[in-house]
Amino acid sequence: MTFDDKILRAKTRRHFFKDAGVGIGRVALASMMADGALSAKDIPPSPMAAKEPHFTPQVKNVIYLFMAGGPSQLEMFDYKPVLQKHDGEVAPDSILDGKRFAFMGTFAENKPRLLATKREFKQYGQSGMWASDLVPEIGSVGDDVAMIRGIQTDNFNHAPAKCFMNTGSIRFGRPSMGSWATYGIGSESADLPGFVVLQSGGRGPRGGAGLWSSGFLPTAYQGVPFRSGGDPILNLSTAPGVTKASQAETLDAIREMNLLQYENDGDPEIMTRVAAYEMAYRMQTSGPDLIDFGQETQETLDMYGAKPGEASYANNCLLARRMIERGVRFVQLYHADWDHHADIGGPLEKVTREIDRPTAALIKDLKQRGLLDDTLVIWGGEFGRTPMAEVREQEAPGKQGRNHHIDAFPMLMTGGKIRRGHQIGGTDDLGFNSVGEKIHVHDIQATILHMLGLDHTKLTYTFQGRPFRLTDVGGRVLHDLFA
C-alpha cells in the first residue's frame, strides 16, 4: 500500500464511530478523549506519526549542518601541495575548457590565476585527516567522521544550488530532504515538529523558506523554523493578556465542541483536528522546555561555546542535540556567510571561528551520550570554491578571494554505520576536478535516505501526473561509506 492509500483509508475510516456505537454520550466521549483512550487507535494517524521504513535503518535522526554560501574547501580540508607550488600562475586552459562559472565576466577579461592557500595544514589522529588551522577542533574529531571529497553539483548560483542540494532540483517547488524524510517515516516526537530548521550567521540563507518547503507534499511536512531567541516557534506563546487558566479552559472547550461536532458529522477530519490541537498544547509546554539551557551543565555549555538566549550557531548545535533527544526526525542548521569572492582571509577566519568548536562539540557530545549510533550528522555547503583567485579590487583592495566551484567539493558525514576516519572520493592535484568514481549531489541524497531506511527510488509522490522523488532520475547509495 502506498502512503497515499494509507492516508485515504484513514480519512474514510470510521472505526471509532462503528466501534463505539452511534448512541455514545458526549460525556463519555470527552472523558475517553481526556484519559487518552481515544488517542492511539481511533484517531486517524497524524501525518507525522512514525511509519515503517522500507528496510532496517542505520539511524533514526539527522542533523544537517548547512554552510550557506559555499565554504572554501581549499582553506579547510583539501590540502594541495601542487597548488601551493603554482601560486599566481595562469590556470591551464586544459582544466578551464568548457567550464562555466559564476561571474564569468571577471574570468573572461583576465585569465584566472591559481591561488595557493595561506593556511597551515596538518594531519589529525589515526586517520590522518588533513585540516587547516581554521578548523583545528573539527580536525581533532577527524577519527570520528568520514570525509567525502570531490562532490559535484549542477548549478553554480547560490539559490538554485541550495535548492538542488535540498530538493534535488534547481527550481523551487519540490519537497526538501527533511520533508521527504518525514513524509517517509514520520517522526518520533509527539511534542515537537518532525522537521525543524535553525538559522544563524547574520542573514538568512539565499532561497529562504523554499529550502525547507514541503513542495507538493502536504504542508504538515514542511520544515518549521525554530529560533534560539524569543518565541522558538512563531505563535508558540500564548497571546498577551490570555491567562494560563484561560488558555487551558479554551483548549478544553475547543476540544469538547469539536467532539460534539464529530458526533453529528462523523467526519474523521474532525478527530485529526482534535489531535492537532492536543499537540499544539503540548508544544506550548515542550518548546520552552527545549530551549531551557538551564538543564545543561556548565561544562556542556562551555564545550559548545553556547550562551543562553543568543542566536548563535553554538546554541543551535546544542539545540539540535536536545531536539533529537526528544525524537525530532530531521534538524537542519543553516549558517551564513561563506561566500568569499573578494577576500578568502579575514572573513573566512571569522566564520570558521563561529563553527569550528560547536561542530566538533556536537560530534563529541553525541558520541559520549551514545547518540551517534542513531544520528546522522552532515556538514557541508551547496558547492565549493575555485583553486583560482578572484580579484575584486573595489570590494577588498589588495585581497584575493575564490569563485563558486561545482566540480569538487567535500562534505563530512558521521553516524550510524559510517566508517569513522574513512574517506571516499578524491580531487586532482589542483583541487579542480574530482578523480575516481563521480560523486554527485543525488548520490548524497540517496545515501542519506538509505541510512534512514528509505529506498530513494521507492520514496515517490505523484504530482501533476508524474511520480517525483528526491533524487529525480539519478542517485546511487554510497555503500563505500559504510563499515
Binding site: R26, G207, E256, N264
Partner: protein, 814 residues
C-alpha cells in the same frame, strides 16, 4: 494512486452481451489500453524492463528477453496471459493481481488477434481526452423530480444503477453558508440568513445565487483560484526576492471575472493580449500572466539560463492550466505515456520564445522590462515635482561648480573641500538616497504604479531549438511554433495569439473539459477527473465522462460564460445535498465518487482569514489596489538573504481580504502557508489540505486572529442587549457558524463563559491587556480605548470568540 478501470456503461454492457460477451473482442481504448497503461511504469519503450515494452503492438509481438509477449489468436500460448493469470514462473503485475474480469479482457483481446488502436464502438483510436467533446443526451432517470437540471440526471443515473438514493438537501442555513463561501469566500450575515430561512418562495435559492454572482466579492473568490494557476506572487523569488510591481494584473483578474468576460477572451488576453490589434491598457495588463515566473538576478548568473527557465515554465503552465497534460515531462525526452514528443514541447516553447526579457549580463538591471507605466495623476504630479526639484538642484550644482572653476583659486583650499559645494551635494544626495533594491525601489524617487507585461521582440525572432536532455546549452534540431499533433486535427503555427486562439477554439479537446473539471473540483472536493492536472494515460479516467463532456460543451456553447456555469452547478440538486457522512455507503462508495452526498471541505488559507474577518465585522470590503501588510508574527520575515520590510498596516488596510496580503515567495505570510496557500513557484491546479498543530497555534495565538476574536466579542456585546447571555451566545454562534447552536453546544459554551468571566473579573489588568490588542491595530487607537471596568466582560466574550474561531466547524465548509 492506481488508475481504476472505467465502469462500463449500461449501454455498452447490453451491447456486449448481445454480441455474446464471452467471445466479442473488447473495446481497445476503454478496456485494454487502461490495463496496458498501468504496466507502462516499467514497460514503456524508454524503460523496457526485461527488454519488454507494452506501448505498441510491434513491441508486444517482439517481446522481451523471454520472447514474444503474445501469440495473436492464442491466449493459451501467450506469455502475457500466463503472467497475469499467475500460473507460471512469471507473475505480473508485481503486487496486486488483476481480477478475473480484467484477465478475461486480455484473453479475449489476444484471442481476437491483438487488435491495436481499434475500438469496437467508435473506431477512434484517440484516448478519450484527445477527442473533441460532443454533447451527450442527459440520461433518463426514475426520480426525474429530484433533478434540478441536466447535471443531476447524469449523477442520479449512476446512483440509481447502484440502488443508492441521493442525500437529503442540506439545511437552509448550512446551504446558505456553503454557497456564500463557495461563491464569495465570505460568510452570510445574520440578516441574510434570516431572510433566506424565511423566504419560502420556490426560487428563494436562485435569488441568493443571483445576488452572490452579482457581488464583487465573487471576483475575489474565483480570482484567487485563478491566481493559483497563474502562480501569482508579489516578489521575484530565487535569491534576492525583490518586491515586484504586478498587483494590477491581480486586479485585472478580479475585474474580468466580475464582468463575466467570456473565458475565451480571458485566456487570449492573458497569453497574447499584446498581440491583439491596438491592445487596450487592460489587455496589456492581462499579459502579466506570462510574467508571473520567478526571476533570478543574483550576482554571477547566466541570465539566458533563467530566461529559458521562465519560458519552459510558461509552456508547462500552459500544459497544466489549459490542457491538463504533463507537458513539462517532454522537456528532456519524449513523454513516456502520452503522445507528446520532446520536439512538440519545443514547438510550444517557440510560441513563447520571442518575448522581451533580459538574457545578457548587460541587461541585468532591466529585469522588470517590459512594464506598463500606470501612474495616477497624483503619482505623476509627485514624480514631476520630485524630478523638477532634482533637476533644479542639479542645475544649481553645475552652475556653482562652473562659478567655482571660474574663480581664482587658493591652492590650500581645493575645490572638493568648498563648503558651498559640499552642502549642495549633500542636499541632492539626501533626496536621491538609495532605498531597497530592484528597479523602482532602487532610489528614493516617488513610486509610480507600473505593471509587468509581455511584449514581442522587434526584428528577427529568436530561433528555437530542441534542448538535448533539457540542457539549454545543447542545441538539437531547430523547430518552428506548433501544437502537439495528437491534439489538433490541423496544424497550428504562428504567434502566441494563434496559440491562445487555438486553446479556446471549439476544436480544442481539452481546455473546456479541464476548466470545468477544475470548477467542479472546487465545489465537490475533487474533480470528475480526479487527477485534475493529468488527463493523459496515467491520469484517472473520469467518474462521469458524459457529464464532463456535457459541461464542456455547455460552457463553450454558452459563450464561455463562467457565471452561467457556476449558476448551473450550485443550483443543481447534487450540489445542494447534505454533507453528513453516510456510513451505509462506506463499502460501496468509500471515496464518495458517485456523489451521494456533499463533502466537508476545509476552507482555503485566505478564506480562513476572510471568514474570520466577516464574522468579526472587521472586514474592509474595498476591492483591489496595492498589496497590504496585516500583522504577522515577529521574525517571520527573517528567513531570507535580505530581510524584507513589513510595514504593518493600520486602519482598514489591516483588515483586507487574504488575497491582498503581500506575498513574498521566499518569506511568505506564515498563516497563509500553514493553511496550504501555494508557494507560487509553479502553477498550482489543486491545493493540498493539511491539518497541523501549527495551524492550531496560529488560530489560537496569532495577533491577527486575536484581534478578530476581540472584535467578535465586542460586536456581540454591542448588537445584543445586556444581561442576556443566551441571546448573546446564540448571536456570536450565528456570526461565526451561521447557525443556531445545539443544546449541548450552548450548554458547553455557557459553562465556559462563566469560567472566563470569573477568571478575568479576578484579573482585570490581564483582561485589559488582552482586549487592548485591538486598539493597537487601529488608525485611531484613542477612539478604541477600553476602561479597566469594561475589560473583564469584553475579555470573557473575546474568549468565546476565540473558541468559535478555532472550531473545526468554523474553518470547514459543510
Amino acid at each position: 494512486m492506481s488508475a481504476k478501470l472505467p465502469r462500463r456503461s449500461l449501454v455498452a454492457l447490453i451491447f456486449s452481451i448481445s454480441l455474446s460477451a464471452q467471445t466479442a473482442p473488447p473495446d481497445f481504448a476503454k478496456e485494454v489500453q487502461p490495463l496496458l497503461n498501468s504496466c507502462l511504469t516499467c514497460h514503456s519503450s524508454q524503460l523496457a524492463t526485461g527488454g519488454l515494452a507494452l506501448d505498441s503492438r510491434e513491441a508486444l509481438l517482439k517481446g522481451g528477453s523471454r520472447g514474444a509477449a503474445v501469440t495473436p489468436g492464442h491466449p493459451e500460448q501467450s506469455l502475457l496471459i500466463e503472467a497475469v493469470k499467475r500460473t507460471g514462473e512469471l507473475k505480473m503485475p508485481p503486487g496486486k493481481a488483476l481480477d478475473s474480469q480484467q484477465v478475461a479482457v486480455l484473453e479475449r483481446w489476444v484471442q481476437a488477434g491483438v487488435p491495436w488502436g481499434e475500438t469496437a464502438a467508435a473506431g477512434d483510436a484517440k484516448p478519450w481526452a484527445f477527442r473533441v467533446p460532443q454533447r451527450p443526451e442527459a440520461p433518463n432517470v426514475q426520480r426525474a423530480d429530484w433533478a434540478q437540471n441536466p447535471i443531476d440526471r447524469f449523477i442520479l443515473a449512476k446512483l440509481e444503477a447502484k440502488d443508492i438514493a441521493p442525500a437529503a438537501e442540506a439545511d437552509k442555513d448550512a446551504l446558505l453558508r456553503r454557497v456564500t463561501l463557495d461563491l464569495t469566500g465570505l460568510l452570510p450575515t445574520p440578516q441574510q440568513i434570516e431572510a433566506f430561512v424565511a423566504d419560502n418562495s420556490p426560487n428563494a435559492f436562485d435569488k441568493v445565487v443571483d445576488r452572490l454572482l452579482a457581488s464583487d466579492h465573487y471576483g475575489e473568490r474565483w480570482g484567487r483560484h485563478w491566481l493559483d494557476l497563474a502562480r501569482y506572487a508579489d516578489s521575484d523569488g530565487y535569491s534576492i526576492d525583490g518586491p515586484r510591481p504586478i498587483w494590477k494584473y491581480r486586479d485585472w483578474v478580479v475585474n474580468a471575472l466580475n464582468a463575466d468576460k467570456p473565458f475565451s477572451e480571458f485566456v487570449i488576453e492573458q497569453i497574447a493580449g499584446d498581440l491583439l490589434p491596438n491592445p487596450t491598457t487592460d489587455q496589456l495588463i492581462a499579459t502579466g500572466f506570462n510574467r508571473n515566473t520567478p526571476l533570478n538576478y543574483e550576482g554571477g548568473i547566466d541570465q539566458e539560463q533563467y530566461r529559458i527557465e521562465a519560458v519552459a515554465d510558461r509552456v508547462a503552465t500552459t500544459g497544466s492550466a489549459f490542457m491538463g497534460l504533463t507537458i513539462g515531462c517532454a522537456r528532456c525526452h519524449d513523454h513516456k505515456y502520452d503522445p507528446l514528443k520532446q520536439k512538440e514541447f519545443y514547438q510550444l516553447f517557440a510560441f513563447y520564445n520571442n518575448t522581451v526579457e533580459i538574457s545578457t549580463l548587460d541587461d541585468r538591471y532591466k529585469f522588470y522590462e517590459p512594464t506598463l507605466d500606470l501612474r495616477t495623476p497624483k503619482e505623476d504630479a509627485e514624480a514631476k515635482a520630485y524630478w523638477s526639484q532634482v533637476n533644479a538642484l542639479s542645475a544649481e550644482l553645475v552652475n556653482y561648480i562652473e562659478e567655482l572653476q571660474a574663480r581664482p583659486r587658493n591652492e590650500s583650499e581645493p575645490l572638493h573641500k568648498d563648503e558651498g559645494l559640499l552642502a549642495r551635494m549633500t542636499t541632492l544626495r539626501n533626496i536621491m538616497r538609495p532605498v531597497g533594491i530592484g528597479a523602482s525601489y532602487r532610489w528614493k524617487k516617488p513610486i509610480v504604479t507600473q505593471s509587468l507585461i509581455t511584449r514581442e521582440r522587434d526584428g528577427e525572432p529568436r530561433e528555437t531549438y530542441i534542448h538535448v536532455g533539457g540542457d539549454f546549452l545543447r542545441h538539437g534540431e531547430r523547430v518552428e511554433p506548433g501544437v502537439p499533433a495528437a491534439l489538433s486535427s490541423k496544424p497550428v503555427t504562428g504567434s502566441r495569439l494563434d496559440l491562445a486562439k487555438w486553446l479556446v477554439s471549439r476544436d480544442n479537446p481539452l481546455t473546456a473539459r479541464v476548466t470545468l473539471n477544475r470548477v467542479w473540483q472546487r465545489y465537490f472536493g475533487k474533480g470528475i477527473v480526479e487527477t485534475e492536472n493529468d488527463f493523459g494515460a496515467m491520469g484517472n479516467p473520469p467518474t462521469h465522462p458524459e457529464l464532463l463532456d456535457w459541461l464542456a460543451v455547455e460552457f463553450m456553447e454558452s459563450g464561455w460564460s463562467q457565471k452561467a456555469m457556476h449558476r448551473l452547478i450550485v443550483t443543481s440538486a447534487t450540489y445542494r445535498q447534505s454533507s453528513a457522512s453516510r456510513p451505509e455507503l462506506e463499502e460501496v462508495d468509500p471515496y464518495n465518487s458517485l456523489l451521494a452526498r456533499q463533502s466537508r471541505i476545509r476552507l482555503d488559507a485566505e478564506i480562513v482569514r476572510d471568514a474570520a474577518l466577516s464574522a468579526s465585522g472587521l472586514l474592509a470590503p474595498e476591492l483591489g489596489g496595492p498589496g497590504v501588510y496585516p500583522p504577522i508574527p515577529a521574525g517571520a520575515m527573517a528567513a531570507t538573504q535580505i530581510t524584507r520590510d513589513w510595514p504593518t498596516s493600520t486602519g482598514p488596510d489591516r483588515y483586507r481580504r487574504g488575497l491582498y496580503t503581500v506575498f513574498f515567495r521566499q518569506s511568505p505570510p506564515p498563516s497563509l502557508v500553514l493553511f496550504d496557500a501555494p508557494n507560487a513557484a509553479e502553477t498550482c491546479t489543486r491545493r493540498v489540505r493539511s491539518n497541523s498543530p501549527l495551524q492550531a497555534l496560529t488560530l489560537l495565538n496569532d495577533q491577527a486572529f486575536l484581534e478578530f476574536a476581540i472584535a467578535l466579542g465586542k460586536r456581540t456585546l454591542e448588537d445584543v442587549p445586556a444581561d442576556n447571555d443566551r441571546a448573546r451566545l446564540d448571536y456570536a454562534f450565528l456570526l461565526a457558524l451561521n447557525r443556531v447552536p445545539l443544546a449541548g453546544e450552548r450548554d458547553r459554551l455557557s459553562t465556559y463563559l462563566a469560567k472566563e468571566r470569573a477568571e478575568y473579573q479576578a484579573q482585570p489588568a490581564m483582561a485589559l491587556e488582552l482586549v487592548s490588542t485591538l486598539a493597537a491595530g487601529s488608525a485611531d487607537p484613542d477612539a478604541q480605548k477600553i476602561t479597566l471596568a469594561e475589560a473583564p466582560e469584553l475579555a470573557a466574550w473575546t474568549s468565546v470568540g476565540r473558541v468559535l474561531l478555532n472550531l473545526d466547524d468554523f474553518m470547514t465548509r459543510e
